[in-house]
Amino acid sequence: METSFAITGKGYLIMAADTTAARRARQAQQPSAPRKATLTDRTGDTVQFAEYVERNIRLYQIRNLYALRPSAAASWIRRALATSLRSRKPYSVNLLLGGYDTATHDPHLYWIDYLGTMSEVPFAAHGYGAYFALSLLDRYHDPEATLEEGLATLRRCLDEVAKRLVVSPGKYKVKIVDKDGIREVDL
């Protein structure tokens, strides 16, 4: 079953999503200005919705010469999902939105589900993996942690999921968002 995690730290944010092909987890990104990586899961809507969000955020940037800040982008996405929920065919997409705010120089992480629930959190997870990982994150998350410590915490989560979840995913895609933009790393 698809699973995704995100952790904030001092000046950075780590996101991890499994790469199960059956239900594609997807990472979208805006490479310029206030960086954000959105990461969604559950059903084929993800591709559609991620693209929709990506293009709209890009459009805002082209029109207004500066990018949406992470908080504004999150509010916009939440609203899009809430509107969609009452339509004939709602997007059934849960997502974690992470971004680095270039105006205030800190990372932000938002947990959003398909019902249009949103909350800003220091760490988050979606999918079955969340049931195993959240308690670990509660214990080991440190907002002042360095990048290495953050990756170690993430590894702890992935190991726990691999050990205890029967349908655990095999591989993860891990990305880091910070002042230098978005980059992918190998665990």
């Binding site: 207004n64 010469l65 500066y66 949406l68 800040r69 908080s71 504004a72 982008a73 509010s75 916009w76 609203r79 105006a103 205030t104």
Partner: protein, 238 residues
């Protein structure tokens, strides 16, 4: 354009830690009921300086009726942004919204363009404090110090001489009042002919704080700056 050059002067100065706006009121007189400016509302007489959003103050020059409709538009544009993005509208975006509308009226026959120039004094996290000017054609530009309305040429050159980069709000207030005093037709400044507003950051919450002065506060400010009316009659409303 013609109406604007006769309208009361509006002056704006950008400082390091805030923006200052001042405006000359034209509609005055003994018989005018000013009680609404003294209490209630958010300050100001509602003639020249308006609060467009919690982070933007607008100063208008031109046809008052047109200005009212633009202010209304600006306020709802700002609220729409708040609804959609849950953040205060960036100042330039608000100026753009209004200019898009103003420009539209220059395109087609039959309708008259808005005869209004505006100054926008605002704050947003992208560029911090900002001062914009927009004219009836829908052009807008950012300024460190500028002026619209009657005698704007004189005021502009005075500002050009006296403005220094990186000044603070305190100095900007003095600069604005001095320039205003020299530009206005009347000899002495008083709350009867002046509207005044300052946008700063709240030191504790770090949120923009717009203050539009009430008549009594303007008189107190003029007193402090040494620009109040000489001797005679007491300060009205004090």
């Amino acid at each position: 354009m013609e109406a604007i050059s006769h309208a009361g002067t509006v002056l704006g100065v950008l400082a390091k830690d805030g923006v200052v706006l001042a405006a000359e009121k034209k509609v005055t007189g003994k018989l005018l009921d000013l009680s609404s400016a003294k209490e209630g509302g958010y300050g100001g007489s509602g003639e020249k300086i308006y609060l467009l959003n919690s982070n933007v103050i607008g100063g208008v020059a031109g046809l008052t009726a047109d200005a009212n409709s633009l202010v209304n538009y600006a306020r709802s544009a700002a609220q729409q942004h708040l609804l959609q993005y849950n953040e205060d509208i960036p100042v330039e975006l608000l100026a753009q919204r209004l200019c898009d509308m103003k420009q539209g009226y220059t395109q087609f026959g039959g309708l008259r363009p808005f005869g209004v120039s505006l100054l926008y004094a605002g704050y947003d996290p992208h560029y911090n404090f900002q001062l914009y000017h927009s004219d009836p054609s829908g052009n807008y530009s950012g300024w460190k110090a500028t002026c619209i309305g009657a005698n704007n040429g004189t005021a502009q050159s005075l500002l050009k001489q006296e403005y220094k980069d990186g000044i603070e709000v305190k100095e900007a207030v003095g600069l604005v009042l001095r320039t205003m005093g020299k530009t206005m037709d009347s000899t002495s400044l008083s709350s009867e002919k002046l509207e005044f507003a300052v946008l700063t950051l709240d030191p504790t919450t770090k949120q923009p704080r717009a203050k539009i002065y009430r008549p009594a506060e303007i008189d107190a400010l003029l007193e402090r700056e040494g620009l109040a009316k000489k001797e005679d009659e007491g300060v009205p409303g004090a």
